[in-house]
């Protein structure tokens, strides 16, 4: 893996390039868009493994952190959806340049899937789009988090504060970010990608809504790959999640 900084020098973003490891390089590359908060922490290992498996299949793969998250610069309190979409656009261009290919496939997990789909309707041209356990709308995501908060009981790390910042599992979603996320809805977005793969580790209301709405699309494939999918679960062991069936399903679909 080759780590590097990209984007503006004032606010560099952290990226990792996994060059292809196969005898023959494919003329496609893959960008992995991470989720947010606890889900990001739990998915780091899974993304790393996915990147390595795709690299072994001949893809040039890139992981990165949005501004205000991970090793990228900035504070999470200043994060905006516009900024994160810009980050995806910059990452797509960076990957094209690094891998010397024009076709970019994007994998997004949870909130990363919603952002990747939104990015596909803008500047970024995406060939294949993988939506892994996607958040289907910002409003639904907000409701989902608030519902989980009610179930667990309000606490100092699970609450909405006086500035309307939603703290979930200790990660803050500031009012502006919540409002901006509220404008994103997968059903309205109609992602511009040649092929869309929706892979789900556990079926739920959100996954059924999306499946029913998109099932007739010719470029849409749905797959249930049963695996642990409790991305927001918190323990004191620093537990991570490595859902092999989903990772394998993504690799299989990508190379098909």
């Amino acid at each position: 893996m080759n780590p590097f900084f990209f984007g503006s020098s004032a606010q560099p973003l952290y990226g990792v390039h996994h060059p292809h490891k196969a005898q023959q390089m494919r003329q496609e590359s893959v960008l992995l868009c991470p989720p947010f908060g606890q889900e990001y922490m739990r998915s780091h290992r899974a993304y790393r493994q996915l990147a390595m498996l795709l690299a072994m299949q001949g893809y040039s793969v890139m992981r990165f952190d949005y501004r205000g998250t991970g090793d990228s610069s900035g504070e999470i309190e200043n994060a905006t959806v516009e900024g994160w979409l810009e980050d995806i656009d910059v990452a797509v261009e960076e990957l094209k340049e690094t891998a010397c290919v024009d076709k970019v496939n994007v994998v997004g997990l949870r909130l990363g899937a919603l952002l990747a789909a939104a990015a596909s309707t803008g500047k970024s041209q995406i060939h294949k789009l993988v939506l892994w356990d996607p958040v289907i709308s910002g409003t639904r995501y907000d409701e989902e988090l608030q519902k989980a908060m009610q179930m667990e009981g309000a606490s100092v790390c699970n609450r909405v504060d006086e500035n309307e910042t939603l703290h979930f599992n200790g990660f803050p979603l500031v009012k502006k970010l919540r409002q901006e996320l509220g404008t994103l809805d997968l059903l309205d977005l109609n992602p511009k990608a040649d092929k869309v793969f929706n892979v789900i580790s556990q079926e739920n209301d959100s996954s059924r809504i999306l499946k029913n709405a998109w099932n007739r699309k010719t470029n849409y494939t749905y797959e249930l790959a049963p695996a642990p999918g409790d991305w927001n679960y918190v323990d004191e062991f620093g537990g991570i999640l490595l859902p092999q069936p989903v990772i394998q399903a993504i690799v299989n679909w990508m190379v098909k």
Binding site: F5, M41, H44, R45, D71, G170, E236, G238
Partner: protein
Amino acid sequence: MKEDFFRYGENNRGFGMLSLPETMADAPIVILFNAGLLHREEPYRLNVLLGRQLAELGYIVLRVDLSGKGDTPARLGLNNRESVALDWGFIKEALYKRFGVQDFILGGLCSGADNAIKLTALEPCVKGLILMDPISSRDNRFYMRNWFRKISNPYKWLTMHSIFARFVYRHIASTTAASEEMESLRDKPTREDEEQCFSYIMEKRGRVLAIFTSHALSRYNEVGQYARASGIENLADCCDEVFFPHAMHLYPVQAHRDQLISTIANWASTHLKLFQGVNR
């Protein structure tokens, strides 16, 4: 402050991230280890924010993925202690090549603190320790303070029924509390490790910062107990203890995170000259 990548080990297999101060001359080096299975950023980017803050103060800070964690592949056929010790040798070598520094400050949360102690015990090259929720021994009056803390807490009285139910359930099902279960999974430093570690620190006239949260309540409940209960003579003279009884182990509350980072930054700022003094 700027950041750069750090590679170590055979074929540069190991990975970490450096936060670098404006002036590198005489800058002491802090190495922050992973907690549990998490990658180098730690929960809530603790190591990222802490590293950047310490770099602003003049420290070089490395947040590093040990083998099997984050972006560093696992070593096969070695146990945790062997793998960490091997990594440490390579990390030191890479840091020396790059910065010419041979004395370090090690830090970490939970198993990161355990690793810091075990590595310090290996050889006298560590001048400072930042230990977040290390394992503390209990002193003679621990149980009395613990008992008093419980009976003087009105919330405990109000929830007595659920405490009793939990106790009975655990007894019948032969299960243990989550904190005990977690503690049993930790590859803790031995008594010999601790003795050797702190004797090296004292020999080098170094400093220790030990910070405890509510997670440590089953073992720690008073500032000063860590040094006192260790049974290591004069440890209290070089050990600063801080107790955040309302904070949780992984610091999910922003205010507690801010408090933790400012506590460490104050300590680092106070001792900057001391750490600079012997590095060259």
